[in-house]
């Protein structure tokens, strides 16, 4: 085909895709809804949810996981637009990392060493590493679907950020159920679950986000 002909054809094609930001705004709530549905089928809110909300530990879990999700979404929203640098917003990842570091410093500084081990091991670590990715999976699917409207120069990295965001949101949802509240537990076991989703996002993203 001649380039001139191709241009004539392209100019006749008026259909335009939804912007990736709009697609995320439309699909992310759907992914969250599926995750909440999964939660209601498989898990229940911890019985001491309200009293625990008054302690620092439960709000800490929400703050870390939700700020992680927000930072990852911020980064990925730039990664899917060609010519826009994501580096400047990547510093937002320091917020969840800094909070986690503060939480761990608090544990190590304020609680007796003999409680560190039990806090780290927790009671339901095995559930945590399964349910965090499970809660995040529908969110990751929704995000990847939406980000297909974008044009990431590095599809694997964009997929990994989508996985990180889904992991943060999935972990926040799981925190409604989970009674292991030590920041050491959050770092380790939530971390493993979130890392698994990040890796999955990178692998899938490399295939489905290429354009």
């Amino acid at each position: 085909m001649r380039t001139d002909d191709l241009i004539r054809g392209l100019a006749a094609d008026e259909k335009r895709e939804t912007s990736p930001g709009r697609a995320v705004a439309l699909l992310l709530p759907a992914g969250l809804a599926v995750a909440v549905l999964l939660f209601s089928l498989l898990l229940r809110v911890r019985p001491d949810f309200l009293p625990m909300l008054a302690t620092p530990w439960l709000p800490f879990k929400f703050a870390v996981t939700l700020s992680l999700a927000v930072a990852a979404l911020l980064i990925v929203s730039r990664l899917v637009r060609p010519g826009v640098r994501a580096g400047p917003v990547a510093v937002s990842l320091l917020v969840p990392c800094g909070m986690l570091a503060l939480g761990i410093a608090a544990v190590l500084g304020l609680t007796p060493p003999e409680t560190w081990g039990p806090g780290l091991v927790g009671h339901y670590a095995r559930y945590c590493v399964v349910f965090v990715p499970l809660m995040g999976a529908p969110i990751l699917a929704a995000l990847l679907l939406a980000l297909r409207k974008g044009a990431p120069t590095r599809p694997g990295l964009a997929g990994a950020c989508a996985g990180l965001a889904a992991g943060g949101l999935g972990a926040a949802l799981y925190a409604f159920h989970c009674t292991d509240d030590s920041p050491l537990f959050v770092l380790t076991w939530y971390g493993i679950g979130i890392a698994a989703l990040t890796a999955a996002g990178a692998l899938i993203g490399r295939r489905v986000l290429a354009w």
Partner: protein, 182 residues
């Protein structure tokens, strides 16, 4: 350079607001600029220049299908150059996995490069031939024969809406095939 980018940005703004004439003007202005830059880069990488027009057309398709990822408040140059560089790298990488046969072996059967200078892409034609029949027919009628959407609809006994959908899907699957081919 900056003036040129600003002119392109303003054409793209009009295009995204629905001005199809501005869009066509923009693509016609971008094609020679892309061609010159692809040629220079191919030569710099020691890659065969014959593939230049394949890459130009792949890039134009990508610009078309991803134009909604440019925000009208952003500078247009970095967006364009990133898309173009990506398509060039994809193309060269794809080729890297294939066995390259020295061009001399084909010298007799290849048409002289000057015949229709930098205007044809054999690769696009090859993938065009594999599209679903309806998409291919619509693409040919609108692009090659230059029919309007309305004319194409009458000619193929379809509604204008169906023609628009077939046209868009045709370009999207063409781009997907170019990206994932062997």
């Amino acid at each position: 350079m900056i003036d040129r980018e600003e002119a392109w940005a303003s054409l793209m703004r009009s295009s995204l607001a629905g001005d199809q004439a501005a869009y066509q003007t923009l693509l016609r202005a971008l094609a020679p600029a892309l061609r010159a830059s692809v040629r220079r880069r191919l030569a710099g990488m020691g890659q065969p220049l014959e593939e230049c027009e394949d890459i130009v057309q792949e890039t134009l398709l990508a610009i078309h299908l991803k134009r909604h990822t440019w925000r009208t408040s952003d500078p247009f140059g970095p967006w364009l150059f990133t898309v173009a560089r990506n398509k060039l790298i994809d193309h060269v990488r794809k080729r890297g996995r294939r066995i390259e046969i020295p061009i001399e072996d084909f010298a007799d059967i290849l048409p002289a490069a000057e015949e229709r200078p930098g205007a044809d892409s054999a690769e696009v034609d090859r993938h065009l031939a594999q599209l679903p029949a309806k998409q291919r027919a619509i693409l040919k009628t609108v692009a090659v024969e230059g029919a309007s959407v309305g004319d194409a609809a009458r000619q193929h006994g379809m509604t204008p809406g169906a023609v628009r959908v077939a046209l868009h899907r045709g370009f999207a699957s063409l781009a997907a095939r170019l990206r994932t081919e062997e």
